[in-house]
């Protein structure tokens, strides 16, 4: 089972990474195009809102990557304490608790996001730009939180696999020193 979850998790990461490259290069190209057009006093009205939504979508994709790398910003006092004591087991349990809390909050938030999409479908603007209905733009939020929630769930499951569980650099160094096999 761990093998399947790991493959699934890597697939999410790969997709998020490809989409991020498209979004960033897209927002960069379009922003520069907008400046160049301004020199010639020309405008493409939908460029600016489109770029803003690309940034918004990228925020969630970046969040998907950060969840896998465990680099979300937080006040990591307890985790850092166990890390400094090299108590990897306790460190891992703290990680599981964090992932579980995050997953629970995201599930509730996901439900609220679906209500928001339903409201936008009823009352939202039919043409925010280039004919895109507001409900599709609102759907970025549940999609993003949903993907992040799935990665938190994957983190919890994989933390019970000695092969795939997350290890800090220090733990990997310690394992190498002891001559234990280290999974990349």
């Amino acid at each position: 089972m761990f093998e399947i979850v790991k493959k699934f998790d890597l697939a999410i990461e790969k997709i998020a990474q490809y989409l991020l490259v498209i979004c960033i290069l897209g927002m960069l190209g379009m922003s520069v195009l907008n400046i160049v057009l301004r020199w010639f006093e020309a405008h493409i009205l939908w460029l600016e809102p489109f770029v803003r939504y690309l940034v918004f979508f990228s925020a969630f994709l970046g969040g998907v990557i950060a969840t896998g790398k465990r680099t979300h910003i937080g006040i990591d006092i307890v985790g850092k304490y166990f890390e400094s004591k090299k108590n990897w087991q306790a460190h891992r349990w703290v990680g599981r608790v964090i992932d579980l809390i995050s997953l629970a909050v995201l599930v509730v938030l996901f439900d609220a996001c679906l209500d928001f999409v339903a409201e936008e479908a009823k009352y939202g603007r039919a043409d925010v730009f280039i004919g895109v209905h507001a409900k599709y733009l609102a759907a970025i939020i549940p999609l993003g939180f949903g993907l992040i929630a799935v990665r938190f769930l994957n983190n919890i499951i994989l933390s019970f696999s000695s092969k795939y569980q997350f290890r800090t650099e220090d733990e990997l160094d310690e394992m190498k020193e002891k001559g234990e096999e280290v999974q990349a």
């Binding site: 990474q17 991020l20 490259v21 960033i24 290069l25 927002m27 960069l28 922003s31 520069v32 907008n34 400046i35 600016e48 770029v51 803003r52 939504y53 940034v55 918004f56 990228s58 925020a59 969630f60 994709l61 970046g62 969040g63 998907v64 990557i65 950060a66 790398k69 680099t71 979300h72 910003i73 937080g74 006040i75 990591d76 006092i77 307890v78 985790g79 850092k80 400094s84 703290v94 608790v97 964090i98 809390i101 995050s102 909050v105 995201l106 509730v108 938030l109 439900d111 609220a112 996001c113 209500d115 928001f116 409201e119 733009l137 609102a138 939020i141 650099e169």
Partner: protein
């Protein structure tokens, strides 16, 4: 909200739960107790997509990460060493200047220490600086440039408070230089006693400038573009990222468009995603705080024992140093700023001055024990125990606190250029 609800949220935060989760949870609990449907949290999150300046965050960060991954640190280091290295303590001053330059572009995210630490540490050691001084200097320099444009914390502060970002960029320049000058004087004091001094080599300086002029032009171009009115801050971010992409991939050829750029995007966007998610999720919570008039409650409480602007500023500095040593700068800006800005306004503190005091405190927070993030990054980067980093950074911490006192009680330092 009763203590029974607040306490678990604080415990979750201290455990290390991502702050965007904590913010969402706090907002949802707040709205629940105020009998507002939870969908309001999502509406607040959606508002971020309508902020025009949102684009500056990913693009400036992407540009900074590209520079850090390229040969840019080596080229700029060569230039700085050839032009400043002849001064007593010159090599240490080179470190300060280079780190400030990089931090302004990478947003004090730890990238400076990771990208430059490995280059600067051996140079400082070769010059005869003690291990303690070198570690302290690099750890401190890792957040030194965050008062200079186009630093990410300044942009974020402007977005959260609505203070003009371009004015904030100007306001930070003199205080930013003050920090560098104070640390440079300390380096000269150490340098003249312990390190050797070099002679100025005109040919080497010219060769170094020829090798790095495309990158040296960048901050000048960004500032000139913004302040001549030719570009907005958002456009400057786009031009900067595009310019760096072109020079690093096609002129210097340090980075491959297909091999390196996707990796740089992934690394930079995991940071940007983290910041923007906190920003999105905190909007709901901070709006709830404002609706419930929490800042005004705090103000009424504070007015009982703080009687004037100066006692408020002293209290503010102590409070922000604690915040800065516990929270990273991005979350502190998003969470704490909306609480203190109305209070500071009541005490007659100029919003620009408040911004620079706030950012200087948090800059110092990066090297303040127990959890100043630069201490951990240096500990990881140089494989030294964290307690050694506490000791190494302590003299620099005291110097920065001295600078903070000047910045706090001499507002004209911040406001002179703006006015």
């Amino acid at each position: 909200m009763s203590a029974l609800v607040i306490l678990p949220i604080i415990i979750f935060a201290l455990l290390g739960t991502p702050l965007f989760i904590i913010m969402s949870l706090a907002a949802m609990v707040g709205f629940y107790f105020s009998e507002i449907p939870l969908v309001a949290v999502t509406i607040e999150i959606n508002k971020i997509a309508s902020q025009a300046t949102i684009l500056t965050i990913p693009l400036f960060t992407f540009a900074g990460y590209m520079m850090a991954e390229s040969g840019s640190p080596k080229r700029l280091l060569r230039l700085a060493e050839s032009t400043l290295g002849w001064l007593p303590g010159g090599v240490a001053i080179v470190c300060l200047v280079i780190c400030a330059f990089f931090t302004a572009f990478t947003g004090a995210s730890g990238v400076t220490i990771i990208a430059l630490g490995g280059l600067l540490y051996p140079i400082l050691s070769n010059e005869g600086y003690s291990e303690k001084f070198s570690l302290g200097l690099i750890t401190t320099s890792g957040s030194l440039g965050l008062l200079f444009p186009p630093s990410l914390p300044i942009i974020l502060y402007g977005m959260v408070t609505g203070v003009d970002i371009e004015k904030l960029f100007v306001a930070g320049i003199i205080p930013g230089f003050l920090l560098i000058v104070i640390l440079s004087l300390y380096s000269i004091k150490n340098g003249s006693a312990k390190a050797s001094t070099k002679k100025f080599d005109k040919a080497e300086a010219w060769a170094a400038l020829k090798g790095s002029w495309l990158e040296v032009l960048l901050p000048v171009g960004v500032l000139a573009g913004i302040y001549s009115g030719k570009t907005t801050t958002t456009e400057a971010a786009a031009v900067t990222a595009f310019y760096i992409l072109i020079i690093e991939c096609f002129i210097y050829r340090d980075l491959s468009l297909f091999k390196d750029i996707p990796r740089v995007i992934k690394d930079s966007m995991s940071l940007v995603g983290g910041i923007l998610l906190i920003l999105c999720c905190a909007l709901g919570f901070t709006n709830w705080l404002v609706d419930e008039e929490i800042p005004m409650e705090i103000l009424r409480f504070m007015q009982e024992f703080l009687t004037n602007k100066y006692s408020f500023l002293l209290f503010l500095n102590i409070f922000l140093l604690i915040v800065g040593s516990l929270m990273d700068i991005f979350s502190a800006i998003i969470v704490v700023v909306p609480l203190i800005t109305p209070i500071a306004a009541e005490f007659g503190v100029d919003p620009l001055h408040l911004a620079i005091i706030f950012l200087t405190n948090l800059e110092i927070g990066y090297i303040t024990p127990p959890v100043g993030i630069n201490l951990f990054i240096s500990s990881f980067r140089f494989k030294k125990p964290i307690t050694e980093l506490y000791r190494a950074s302590f003299p620099f911490l005291l110097l920065l606190l001295f600078a903070l006192v000047i910045i706090t009680y001499v507002p004209s330092l911040t406001l002179a250029l703006v006015n």
